[in-house]
């Protein structure tokens, strides 16, 4: 770090090197190669710092690209919208994105088969050996008793209190508990993070449903009150089912799709 503005002063007194422009151009031209080399070869703290810097740059880059794209799209969507809209909604940017959900639900309900159709009808089974890990417990001398620890992510309700340690059969590790899910609305194509209310059904085993195990294909109830959805009778809908689409134990997050 310069302790003074001596570089600037020198430049003002003597001007730049004669080949400055060329050097700058070449450096710029090779910057991609340099970045690639750094990314591949840096180790340790420097690699970390470099990765962080690069991450920030990329975010910035993506934002800029998106801005440019939006600017381009605007001219493309200037033409009239396809669904009829009243005068006061005509020139608005995205008035049609939020199609009222309630009607969609109503239509679905009418065809009875839809009641049992979920996005993921079949999932791979998980054996109890994989699900539970046995832990020996008890007094130091015997360690005869044993408990089972759930090795998969779980949802534990806010009102859960542990049973006395002696009678506790299952351990659900704190680190694998989830309270929120990233829920996608299939028709709107929007994803919102919503609090989980309960686990409705785990297709593997009724026991897993009781334990609140979150695996792929599990149906959970999520709190949709902040989406402002309304039921056919005009009440605000707040609990709605969603099915988990990813494998939370591998991904570290819960992604789900709303059942409509």
């Amino acid at each position: 770090m310069p302790q003074n503005e001596y570089m600037d002063r020198w430049r003002r007194l003597h001007g730049r090197r004669f080949d400055h422009e060329e050097r700058a151009r070449k450096k710029e031209a090779r910057s991609g190669h340099k970045a690639s080399e750094d990314a591949q070869n840096l180790r340790g703290l420097r690699a970390k710092m470099y990765a962080e810097k690069r991450h920030k740059e990329k975010i910035q880059m993506k934002k800029t690209i998106k801005q440019h794209e939006e600017r381009n799209i605007k001219s493309a969507t200037d033409k009239d919208p396809t669904t009829p809209l009243p005068n006061y909604l005509l020139d608005r940017k995205n008035p049609t994105t939020a199609k009222a959900l309630s009607s969609a639900i109503k239509n679905k309900r009418q065809d009875k088969a839809a009641r049992y159709s979920v996005p993921l009808p079949k999932v791979k089974g998980i054996s109890e050996e994989e699900m539970f890990k046995v832990i020996n417990t008890g007094k130091k001398t015997h360690k005869k008793a044993w408990k089972r620890m759930v090795t998969k992510p779980t949802f534990v309700g806010p009102d859960f209190t542990r049973r006395p340690v002696k009678y506790e059969r299952f351990i659900r590790p704190m680190g694998l508990r989830y309270k929120k899910a990233n829920v996608t609305h299939p028709e709107l194509g929007v994803t919102v993070q919503l609090p989980i209310i309960s686990v409705k059904k785990n297709p593997q085993n009724p026991l897993y449903t009781q334990l609140g195990v979150l695996t792929k294909g599990t149906v959970v109830e999520v709190n949709v009150s902040e989406l402002g959805l309304v039921t056919a009778s005009g009440k605000v809908a707040w609990g709605r089912y969603a099915q988990i689409t990813n494998t939370p134990e591998n991904d570290g997050c819960v992604n789900a799709v709303l059942l409509v």
Partner: protein, 516 residues
Amino acid sequence: MATVIPPPNKRQKREQLERTQVHQDVHATALEAGSFRVRFIDNEQNQLAEVVEIPLGDASEKNVSLLLNTLLGRDREDFTPYRFRIHVPSSDTIIDTYPTPAEFMSILRKHGVNNPFETTLTLSAEPQAVFKVQAVTRMSHKIPGHGEAILAAQFSPRSSSRLATGSGDNTARIWDTDTGTPKYTLAGHTGWVLAVAYSGDGNRLATGSMDKTVRMWDADTGKAVGRPFTGHSKWVTSIAWQPFHLWEDETPRLASASKDGTVRIWIVNTGRIEHVLSGHKGNVSCVKWGGTGLIYTGSHDKTVKVWNAVDGTLARTLSAHAHWINHLALSTDFVLRTAYHDHTRNVPHTIEAQRAKAKERFEKAATRQGKVVERLVTASDDFTMHLWDPEQTKPLARMLGHQKQVNHVTFSPDGTLIASASWDNSTKLWSSRDGKFINTLRGHVGPVYISAFSADSRLLVTASKDTTLKVWSMATCKLAKDLPGHDDEVYAVDWSPDGKKVGSGGKDKAVRLWMN
């Protein structure tokens, strides 16, 4: 170590509480025996009657209203119900809702009037409509028919038995609301019908469409009248009829606003363009034809322009908004729309008499401090509204409070209230006298698109994206009735001028009629 007295136990606490409550009650009843002096004023701050003394126990709003009528020397048949607002002495506060006799003292005390017996209270009396509209409570009919979303709806000024709707299926339809059946299908447009407007006498219906034309229909037979009015280069956003009392020798005129930035004035009988009002630089979102011969237009170029209808010249440009103007409303909208049709249903037989009655109604509604002047309110995308006196280029008031774009504003038929519907899921009420905020109506969970007052100004119905209509009471500023039933967004709502029915339509394609 000092001895600490144990805290009182539950029984002791309960007894203590009971003692204090009993004591307070005795105190309150003792006070209620008093009386207070009252000065009545009207909207323009003129004193209405002598100062009188009223016993506190009898000071209900109904009694005071009766008293005022007697003081004014009215016959029993001419009694007008009044609504009172209490002006707190020696401060600017006004209590909007009149309390019951039991609450009277406590409310006054809350506002710092400890001894009203020695001061004179000022009550501003607002005459209410002599008729009363019942809040609609149930869906009477669901009439399918339109093939696409319903974009506009308006009741006929004559009665509540005809409703016209414009739809995305390129037709407008007239419905017989008494039987809940379709009456006429007005086919002819080649684009969505964005605007429908009945003429003041209710004989003709004008529709404006996405296909850049305005068409004229006979409201009684459902037949097209004349050729379509062509001239606009983009779609028609809004239509305004010339007020009935300004019609000259049976040649009504019509103003249509368009996305192309112009407003065209048509002579309805011939379909000829009389004037083209060009000057706006963007989409003209709303046009209104005032009863004093001025045309008001609001545009996406952020300005409101006031035009002389006779020669088509620009009178004034009102610019104060920072974003699009979405909608504008006149304090006389209701009387201009209904012309000579009022709650008595006495329709004059000759055209001269009809014109005279329409003019009289208009002047009664527009007179403020002896001057016939309309008020204008504009709703904008900059989250604010402005209240204008069209004679001045500076707004009378700026109404702040909404947190998102304001989509729609309406004046109450008696011209005292303004309701604004906004994207922030709320409707707000404002005083039309000075643009002061009165209350917020919360309840919708989606943007509120449109609102409509009942003819007696006591109720308001709002339509929202959340698929419901809600009826609000203006006296209490509370929800009077929730009306679910639509399957999808509600785009259009109208309360019939006689107050019997509410018609609504939206994305779910069926017209719904609501009754008490």
